[in-house]
């Protein structure tokens, strides 16, 4: 806890989550690039090159982020009940360096991203002219239909964020796809999917309503291949404005305490 006082702490000043654990001091001795190589050699095969998960679980989820360095070092050294093999052969120093490196992949520590725009101006745009907030919540303000961006800037570089704004359909997440549904009763619905299986679809429309539908009752389910994001931010916003919005998102992500992000689907890694 960095901020301590009696009474209430409002979210804006609440830098209190005990997740910023400085990696063990001796980890600094290991060269960062060597730690990166060790991660690729030992960890990436299961956890992915950027720790976002592969055969094994993602290591960037809130529960892993919140674990202490000591707990992570122990997990690497001894393995886990969930099936991770032990790696005592790496030695204590390398294991500590790996955990330190993982902290960077989790968006902690020394990953200061370059900000070239005016974050305050970006904030004004986000909540004003660009209307980002009508769908995206950030630090407790904004809409609900699209992902919360409070932490987005912690894990994404400026270029990637800019690309996501001007080319929103380039990398469509499953829960961002706009789905058009026609029921056998003739009802038409357009929204995003919050859960689906071979039997049911839970669709959320832009008014916030959940529609719990049985596939047997549906005449057509059409994936539009688009998200709800406007396609014209590249022309509607100037280069400067885009840079400002990107800067706002990055600065927010960097300064916000590591807050767990909500998950909409049945992720098997949390």
């Amino acid at each position: 806890m960095r901020t301590k006082r009696f009474g209430i702490l409002l979210a804006s000043s609440a830098l209190f989550l005990a997740v910023e654990m400085p990696a063990a001091a001796h980890a600094q001795k290991k060269d960062a690039s060597e730690a990166a190589q060790q991660f690729q050699a030992n960890c990436a095969v299961c956890h992915g090159a950027d720790a976002s998960g592969d055969k094994g679980p993602a290591l960037t989820t809130p529960n892993i982020v919140a674990k202490s360095d000591a707990a992570l070092i122990k997990a690497v050294h001894d393995g886990t009940a969930a099936g991770m093999p032990p790696f005592p052969q790496l030695g204590d120093e390398t294991i500590a360096a790996l955990v330190h490196y993982l902290r960077k992949l989790q968006g902690q520590g020394e990953t200061a991203l370059t900000v070239t725009g005016d974050a305050a101006a970006g904030r004004t745009l986000y909540f004003g002219k660009a209307q980002c907030s009508s769908c995206h919540m950030i630090q407790g303000n904004g809409g609900f239909i699209a992902p919360d961006l409070t932490e987005y800037g912690r894990r994404h570089a400026a270029e990637a964020i800019r690309k996501a704004i001007v080319l929103p359909d380039a990398r469509l997440a499953p829960d961002a796809r706009v789905i058009e549904i026609q029921t056998k009763a003739g009802k038409k619905l357009t929204g995003v999917v919050r859960n689906e299986d071979n039997f049911n679809i839970a669709l959320q429309t832009e008014d916030g309503r959940y529609h719990f539908l049985a596939r047997n009752d549906l005449a057509d389910v059409h994936d539009t291949g688009h998200s709800l994001m406007p396609q014209d931010y590249g022309t509607k916003l100037t280069d400067r404005e885009l840079t400002d919005i990107v800067s706002f998102v990055i600065v927010t992500g960097q300064t916000h305490p590591a807050e767990p992000a909500p998950k909409r689907h049945n992720d098997d890694d949390d």
Binding site: I8, D148, N195, Q204
Partner: protein, 554 residues
């Protein structure tokens, strides 16, 4: 003993004979479905929803409504057709901790917590539609270190929950996104929080756990919109305040009296009823002389200001960890022939109490623990006549045990049968005590309580008839896994609960006769609830190792 005898022949024949009646019920349900259709899926909880007098489709807070009756007015599932009840889905929480919560259901969406995680589910399929993930806190003390969480409160498009490290979270019910996060306990790290919050008007009411760890209990109200604190009632008086003679020096900062279960609310009397926990240190009363107000009490508070209207103390100067967290159930019924506004509570101290909730006046009590020995009885003012069994280094045997004659698991009141249903526990403890200095990061029991050698624990389901002021029936539970499982009742006279053999059981509330059971394969440590989606009535109950079960007719 009634328990365990199910007459299949009778049930099946009854079902056939009453098929027409069942059809009728389904017809009514279909109508309800049409009416409910427009409201399904859209979360926007109004004051009128929270003030509902009949719990049908929506179970809007921990106890279903403000009265704490844990009573569903749904009538689709009856003593006749309940034998056809079947599991509809199971939801497994990813962080499989012990589940002690009761789900809240609004417009076909179910909200549940596990540790610091919140989930929104399709209440008809159990499929997750969002999950707010937040790691549990390491380094907590005692109860908080178990990360128990008993559920959410809802208002408008928002969901509220407490966290193990005493934060109040406000989430967007449509996405699970965090809107605000307020830390509401003072510096003392021994605080924890486990309750479901309660919404009253535009405020969120929250309490804390930690009463065995030397914290000063309080109840706090926060503006539901902004998260700003509106009032705070300290359950342990500060220096110079009424009752402070029990708390010499700084002892009031450690006095306990925590508020770790949701209270109840009477909108007409504009009064909030909230139970407080045991005094601390638990077993050493020498450092807290007198009655130790306001521990082991029910408090009647003004919800707008937090001002105390009256209090009633069940267990003055308690030495046995007898919290008074048991739900203060608000009952409008005849008492000795007169219509009264009553407050009924089965207390952890082994007596059932009836109070006049307009003024806190004691009306009646009844011992429900056979081997109770800590008190001779209750005097005409409601004060126990203590047997002065004082824990010392050698130890003293006291009944009920440290776990109480009952505990936080919910009671239920059926306004049709006038029965008050609750689970009780027959057991005793050897209490030992010696002086302990308070330390941050450690519990503050001042020694311990253990089960006497060779003695066991026995669970009982009780039906207390408020008309006759006597027990209508009492069913001992067979089994080896004592469940911390509450009861609920329904408009068709059904009583549902987890038994001591890992079964979810439904029995006939008039007679105690078991009608149906299902083996959930794990200890139930929660209180059940009921809801409906598209005209179909469900029961739901959380089970010990992280599974939430829903049951309905085929």
């Amino acid at each position: 003993m009634r328990y365990g005898k199910i007459v299949f022949g009778f049930a099946a024949a009854g079902f056939l004979l009453l098929a027409a009646g069942t059809q009728q019920t389904h017809g009514q349900a279909a109508k309800a479905s049409t009416a409910a259709d427009n409201s399904t899926g859209l979360i926007d909880v109004k004051q009128s929803d929270l003030l509902q007098k009949q719990v049908t489709d929506n179970w809007v807070n921990y106890n279903g409504d403000y009265s704490g009756r844990r009573y569903s007015a749904m009538s689709q599932i009856t003593p006749v057709n309940v034998s056809h009840l079947a599991p509809k889905w199971v939801f497994h929480t990813q962080e499989a901790g012990p589940l002690e919560g009761t789900p809240v259901v609004v417009a076909g969406v179910m909200f549940m917590t596990s540790g610091n995680d919140a989930y929104a589910l399709d209440a008809a399929t159990g499929k997750q539609i969002w999950h707010h993930s937040r790691a549990v806190t390491e380094g907590l003390v005692d109860d908080a270190a178990s990360h128990h969480n008993r559920g959410v409160a809802v208002l408008g498009t928002r969901v509220y929950m407490e966290t193990d490290n005493v934060h109040l979270l406000c989430l967007d019910a449509r996405s699970g996104n965090l809107i605000w996060d307020v830390q509401y306990a003072p510096e003392n790290k021994n605080y924890g929080a486990t309750a479901a919050p309660l919404i009253v008007k535009d405020k969120v009411l929250v309490g804390t756990a930690g009463g065995d760890s030397g914290v000063r209990g309080f109840l706090a109200a926060f503006d539901a919109q902004t998260g700003k604190e509106v009032w705070r009632f300290w359950t342990i008086p500060g220096p110079g305040e009424f009752g402070s003679e029990s708390w010499p020096g700084d002892q009031y900062l450690l006095g306990g009296g925590t508020t770790w279960m949701p209270g109840t609310y009477d909108p007409e009397l504009n009064t909030l009823y909230w139970g407080t926990g045991n005094p601390a240190p638990d077993y050493d009363g020498s450092v807290r002389p007198g009655d130790d107000l306001y521990t082991s009490c029910v408090l009647a508070l003004d919800p707008d200001t937090g001002k105390l209207k009256w209090y009633f103390q069940y267990s003055p100067h308690n030495l046995y960890d007898y919290d008074a967290e048991q739900t203060p159930v608000l009952v409008d019924a005849n008492f000795k022939g007169q219509p009264r506004k009553l407050l009924v509570s089965a207390s952890r101290n082994g007596f059932l109490y009836i109070l006049d909730r307009t003024n806190g006046k004691y009306l009646y009590s009844k011992k429900f623990i056979a081997n109770l020995n800590w008190a001779k009885g209750i005097d005409e003012n409601g004060r126990p006549i203590s047997n002065n069994l004082i824990p010392d280094e050698k130890g003293v045997r006291v009944c009920p045990s440290v776990s109480g004659g009952t505990n936080w698991y919910s009671p239920s009141y059926d306004p049709a049968t006038h029965m008050f249903y609750f689970r009780s526990m027959e057991s005793c403890s050897i209490f030992t005590s010696k002086h302990q200095d308070f330390q941050i990061g450690q519990t503050y029991y001042a020694t311990g309580a253990g089960r006497p050698q060779g003695e066991s624990t026995k669970g009982v389901i009780n039906a207390f008839d408020l008309d006759k002021l006597d027990f209508a029936w009492r069913d001992p539970l067979i089994g080896t896994t004592f469940a911390w499982a509450g009861v609920m009742s329904t408009a068709t006279g059904l009583v549902a609960f987890g038994d001591d053999a890992q079964n979810f059981v439904i029995l006939d509330g008039h007679t105690g006769k078991p009608l149906w059971h299902f083996n959930v394969g794990q200890i139930i440590r929660s209180s059940p609830m009921g809801y409906a989606v598209n005209g179909k009535q469900y029961f739901a109950v959380a089970a010990g190792s992280g599974d939430l079960f829903a049951f309905a007719l085929p």
